[in-house]
């Protein structure tokens, strides 16, 4: 029986989410026994032609060329999973969506006329059908393995969609907001990281993006009412790694 074929694709991103696959030191070789790593440029010169059974897509769409390339990737992929905040919400580079990208170009480059870029950074799902989205900046490698494993066994991934708060309770971390007065996005942020920040005495900064049905307005009002954060910092907190995720975008606009 032939093994299913895996492809890993990169768009505008930092490489960190696909690196998560190579960070599975204990599982990588056995994974390679179950699935044919057919197209993974960061790891191999050998490329097996498509179509691919499973495509992992990292990064957001920021150039005209990439806008065409993602359509080709979709056409070659039976099941397409986006990995990380760039691919699911446009990433940190989506901060350009709130400004004029031409200003950014002239800040960085001496000759803006050589730069070929779109006005916006958009998630993969804005361009093609996505079968599953894995959140996080970066993703959690255990969740990545779960997604691959569930694909191999033809079942639904066991990835909870509740908030970071639940993970804090499970971890036994006292609430940093209640006990230390630290502003925290945990109540509105998608679980998955394991609630790392509160365990290190800092508030969640929302790198896994909004959870299902987040009440951002209530949280913001409460944090402001208790003088835990300034209006400027509230805007920044919602407008960072998942700035263009609809719930966070809407909330940040309330603080402009």
């Amino acid at each position: 029986m032939t093994k299913p074929k895996l492809a890993v694709w990169k768009f505008a991103s930092c490489d960190g989410c696909q690196l998560s696959l190579l960070d599975c030191e204990d599982e990588l070789l056995s994974l390679a026994g179950e699935i044919d790593i057919a197209n993974f440029r960061e790891a191999s010169r050998a490329v097996v032609e498509g179509p691919y059974d499973l495509s992992l897509v990292e990064g957001s769409i920021t150039t005209p060329h990439d806008r065409e390339r993602i359509v080709e990737v979709r056409a070659q992929s039976k099941y397409l999973v986006t990995i990380g905040a760039c691919a699911t919400a446009g990433g940190i580079q989506a901060l350009r969506n709130f400004k004029d990208v031409k200003d950014f170009i002239s800040i960085v480059y001496a000759h803006p006329e050589y730069i070929d870029t779109l006005e916006t950074s958009t998630p993969i799902a804005a361009h093609v059908h996505v079968d599953y989205e894995l959140h996080g900046c970066p993703i959690n490698k255990k969740q990545l393995l779960e997604v691959i494993n569930s694909f191999l066994h033809k079942r639904k991934p066991d990835i909870p969609s509740y908030s970071v708060c639940i993970e804090c309770k499970r971890r036994g971390t006292p609430c940093v907001t209640v006990s230390h007065g630290i502003a925290c996005l945990g109540p509105v942020t998608h679980a998955g990281c394991g609630a790392i920040c509160p365990a290190y005495n800092r508030g969640c900064y929302g790198c896994y993006g909004p959870k299902e049905t987040p009440n951002t307005e209530s949280l913001a009002r409460w944090l402001r009412g208790n003088e835990m954060i300034s209006e400027e910092d509230m805007l920044r907190l919602f407008r960072t790694f998942n700035a263009d995720a609809p719930a966070f975008k809407k909330e940040s606009e309330r603080h402009e």
């Binding site: 990169k10 505008a12 991103s13 930092c14 490489d15 960190g16 989410c17 690196l19 998560s20 190579l22 960070d23 030191e25 204990d26 990588l28 070789l29 390679a32 790593i37 440029r41 960061e42 790891a43 191999s44 010169r45 050998a46 920021t62 150039t63 060329h65 990439d66 990433g91 940190i92 580079q93 350009r96 400004k99 200003d103 950014f104 170009i105 800040i107 960085v108 480059y109 001496a110 000759h111 050589y114 730069i115 070929d116 870029t117 900046c137 970066p138 990281c193 790392i196 920040c197 365990a199 290190y200 005495n201 800092r202 900064y205 790198c207 400027e232 910092d233 920044r236 960072t240 790694f241």
Partner: protein, 432 residues
């Protein structure tokens, strides 16, 4: 064969971080064009940092690169502390070195075993290589894992750690927590020693260049976060003077901003070979002896042997991590408080791939008004092309596929990290 134009194109370089391409043109048996092309989409970090709080720089700049986020965090916090006149010393300083040790071990080992060694042994990837060299690949994975464990314990996670802040850390570890790293690190040290021996036995092309090496140099230590910026040709400046001596050229035919020394517009070399050449005597004596024992001199000018120099640095990072853990006492506070004031701060630290320079101008409210970031790969970019100009003619008679693989290997010598795209732009690929 010699009476025609050969074009060797690799449209998507493998086993490098990010998206790049290589283009060689050979006319009548003579190399006439070399281009290392970067088509990584620009992400405009210096632009999007404007108006952000100075406290956000370490977390935001980490996202430039998932392979070396600690380097970005370290250059960012040191630059901010420079602007604020803040000095972070003692155990907090040591913990920062420890975190960097974790990243060096992890990033270097990834490159040695998974990206570079397959070239020397003739496999397309480490997974393919594992079929014949299973024990070696397993050793590499376990060694890499220990680097990740340091970053996870101290940083919260291995990619984009969350525990680094201006002034120190959000939370410092207990002695007992750090002790859990000792046993894995001792095994890692043995594995690193094995790695030095293993890679030193590879066949290296006979190729050397008279490089201008540039790296940090500290009076006593092998450098991570502090030191003068020195070169093998007499440069000796503070990080704050970087932009007086180096410049980035945004030239049309190029694929990225090329960094050169202002003096003579020369290319220069940053990374493990530069650090090693300029700091060899800062390595512990027995590591110097180990290096000599496998045939590395005090200076290594063969870029293909960078894999051996990298392995020496992994060995050093394992030992340095063990030393820091042994000397560790929990500091009084996890961070030093800073009073916000307007100013400009500069820092250069040693990312796994080489010197990483940051400059920030902040307002009296602590908002970033201007940022400049120079990643190591844009500094090495011109050097990589220079290497290809020198190296390819020696192998010009090889068939295209073999020549292509050799040339790719010459690029991978630098462990180029194309995702560090703060300065990189997209150019139309010239397909002739």
């Amino acid at each position: 064969m010699s009476e025609k134009t050969r074009t060797i194109k690799v449209d998507y370089l493998a086993r490098v971080e990010g998206e790049g391409a290589m283009h060689l043109k050979i006319d009548n048996g003579k190399l006439t064009d070399v281009k290392l092309k970067i088509f990584e989409p620009p992400r405009f970090f210096e632009g999007l940092l404007r108006d952000r709080a100075y406290t956000e720089a370490p977390d935001i700049t980490a996202r430039i690169c998932g392979i070396c986020p600690v380097a970005y965090q370290m250059s960012a916090v040191h630059a901010m502390e420079n602007a604020l006149g803040l000095k972070v010393e003692g155990q907090l300083r040591a913990l920062r070195r420890l975190l960097y040790c974790g990243e060096w071990i992890s990033s270097h080992t990834l490159h040695i075993y998974m990206l570079h060694a397959p070239d020397f042994l003739g496999y397309p990837s480490a997974v393919h290589m594992a079929k014949d060299h299973g024990a070696a690949v397993e050793r590499g994975l376990q060694l890499k894992k220990v680097g990740g464990e340091i970053m996870t314990l101290l940083g919260g996670r291995e990619i984009h750690p969350i525990n680094v802040r201006v002034g120190g850390f959000y939370r410092v570890p207990t002695k007992k927590e750090l002790q859990t790293l000792v046993s894995p690190l001792k095994k890692a040290r043995d594995a690193a020693m094995e790695t030095v021996r293993w890679v030193s036995g590879f066949d290296f092309p006979d190729f050397t260049q008279d490089y201008i090496f540039v790296a940090l140099q500290h009076p006593q230590e092998y450098p991570f976060n502090e030191g003068r910026l020195v070169s093998s040709h007499g440069l000796d400046i503070a990080a704050a003077q970087y932009e007086d001596y180096f410049e980035e050229q945004h030239v049309e035919h190029s694929t990225a901003l090329h960094c050169v020394l202002k003096d003579g517009k020369k290319a220069y070399h940053v990374g493990p070979m530069a650090r090693y050449a300029l700091n060899f005597d800062r390595l512990p004596q027995h590591i110097q002896d180990t290096a000599k024992g496998v045939g590395l001199g005090k200076v290594c000018r063969n870029p293909f042997k960078s894999i051996a120099v990298r392995s020496i640095e992994v060995l050093y990072a394992c030992e340095e991590a063990l030393r820091i853990i042994e000397d560790y006492e929990v500091p009084e506070a996890p961070f030093v408080e800073a009073a916000v004031k307007a100013g400009t701060g500069y820092a250069a630290t040693e990312a796994p791939r080489g010197l990483l320079y940051h400059r920030y101008k902040i307002s009296d409210k602590g908002e970033i008004e201007d940022a400049n970031i120079v990643p190591p790969t844009s500094q090495n970019q011109k050097m990589i092309e220079d290497d290809l100009w020198q190296f390819v003619p020696q192998y010009i008679d090889l068939p295209d596929d073999k020549l292509q693989w050799h040339a790719e290997q010459a690029i991978r010598n630098y462990d180029p990290c194309i995702s560090c795209s703060a300065h990189f732009l997209k150019l139309t690929v010239d397909r002739t």
